[in-house]
């Protein structure tokens, strides 16, 4: 009883603190100076039609590198704890038969989902989405593949190679930016091109292709190691 009363007291205290903020809140009519700079000069400075990409890859490119590192660490830790001790490809798992509808649909849908993912990350500087979204869409295609054919195996070495090459390439582009352009991950390393076309916005499409490949292969690796350790205790 006393405990519940204390919880209620704390909740009332929170309401008292937060309601003050809520009552005095007035939405600002104009952007703050930083957002104004991004919105007005983003198109000319970076050349990306999608302003979110301009902010994520160029103005805040270092944060994106941090996010990629976090995802890499997550994949590495999952791979470490889900080490496959008895990799035994001969033994087929005894599973319930997959439904005919799922198998038939997956032969059409899996390539389409992969193509959509690739489209999303190649066009990251023009349309909504980007490397992370494209990679995640590719991983959902892998989920469908696993559900339709539960005995599918993954080439973990190839996935790890793809992931390492993309990660190293991302950092190398950043370092080239320091040497040849204005700074780390600067997008003016390559010519800007015509605004709104596929080959524009300097180095952003290449960075997003690398991020998309990296995220896709990392998530596929996590799913693959989870699947392969299923019949171990």
């Amino acid at each position: 009883m006393v405990k519940k009363g204390l919880i209620l007291l704390i909740l009332v205290g929170f309401v008292a603190i937060i309601s003050n903020l809520l009552i005095n809140f007035t939405g600002s009519e104009e952007l703050n100076p930083l957002a104004k700079h991004y919105a007005e000069k983003g198109a000319t400075e970076v050349g990306a039609a999608n302003l979110v990409t301009a902010v994520v890859v160029t103005y805040r490119g270092f944060d994106t590198l941090g996010e990629v590192t976090i995802l890499f660490l997550t994949a590495a830790i999952v791979g470490f704890f889900l080490k496959v001790y008895h990799r035994d490809n001969q033994r087929e798992e005894k599973l319930r038969k997959t439904s005919e509808i799922l198998v038939t649909a997956s032969t059409l849908l899996v390539p389409t989902i992969f193509m959509l993912g690739v489209y999303i990350f190649i066009n990251g500087h023009l349309t909504p989405g980007g490397g992370f979204q494209g990679g995640a869409v590719i991983a959902t295609g892998v989920v469908m593949m696993i559900m339709a054919k539960p005995n599918v195996t993954f080439n973990h070495k190839l996935l790890a190679l793809l992931e390492s090459i993309s990660g190293v390439g991302f950092v190398a582009i950043g370092v080239l930016g320091v040497l040849l352009a204005a700074g780390f991950l600067d997008s003016t390393l390559l010519p800007m091109g015509k605004f709104g076309t596929l080959l524009s916005a300097g180095v952003i499409p290449i960075i997003y292709i690398l991020i998309g490949l990296k995220v896709g292969s990392e998530l596929t690796n996590i799913l693959g190691s989870l699947k392969e350790t299923q019949n171990e205790i």
Binding site: P128, A136, V137, A139, V143, I146, M147, I233
Partner: protein
Amino acid sequence: MSILLAVFLGVVVIILAILAIYHSNLKIAIIATGVVGLFSSIIYLLLAAPDVAMTEASIGSGLTTIIFFYVLNKIRKSNG
């Protein structure tokens, strides 16, 4: 119209989130979590954030659901 849809989806999301926390059958709770992700991605789309909607639809409803199922299966096996 889109406000009505958003309110409807918001109510469904809250109901499913409560279901996901309190349901005793873990399979139903996991599916409820996935549907929360799917419906909230539509809400993000209505709020004009297609980037976030894409991430939420693929990670929130696709990947986390299957990872939860894998983990559930593994826990059941190791508990005998």
